[in-house]
Amino acid sequence: MATGTDQVVGLGLVAVSLIIFTYYTAWVILLPFIDNEHVIHKFFLPRAYAVAIPLAAGLLLLLFVGLFITYIMLKNQRVTKKAQ
């Protein structure tokens, strides 16, 4: 078995993914079948955000990946230019 920080990080990731999955499942799948007067609707944003937030997060992720690749490529170019 892995030790120390590896275990903590790994189990943390599992916990985060389970939390996100249960909240999102309740939001998308369960909430439409619950009466609009029930108190549980207070814990969830309006339904449109269920698509808007993952979409925005996905675009942000793509942005960061693109910036990272650009940075690495520029660094590589500078290193080869110095070596010439």
Binding site: M1, A2, T3, D6, Q7, V9, G10, L11, G12, L13, V14, V16, S17, L18, I20, F21, Y24, T25, V28, I29, P32, F33, R47, A50, V51, P54, L55, G58
Partner: protein
């Protein structure tokens, strides 16, 4: 058929089925809660796939079998090799 073609075919099929159902093109009168569940379905499947991937990675990291002895042995061998090569004139 290649795997890519299979995946694209399946995606096109499921995507067109979802589009037809959400826009009422089939003329079915679905009850309101079912429609409410249907239209965010692609986003939901993507998020669940992402959660599954994240959870699997985390689980495999946490249960990875470390070999402490082999790691220590490898480190000492690396030190030995560096000393040997430095002696023979290779500069790091």
């Amino acid at each position: 058929m290649t795997k890519l073609a299979q995946w694209l075919w399946a995606l096109a099929l499921l995507g067109s089925a979802w589009a037809a159902l959400t826009m009422g093109a089939l003329g079915l009168d679905l009850p309101s809660p079912c429609r409410e569940v249907l239209w965010p379905l692609p986003a939901y499947l993507l998020v669940s796939a992402g959660c599954y991937a994240l959870g699997t990675v985390g689980y495999r990291v946490a249960t990875f079998h470390d070999c402490e002895d082999a790691a220590r042995e490898l480190q000492s061998q690396i030190q030995e090799a560096r000393a040997d090569l430095a002696r023979r004139g290779l500069r790091f």
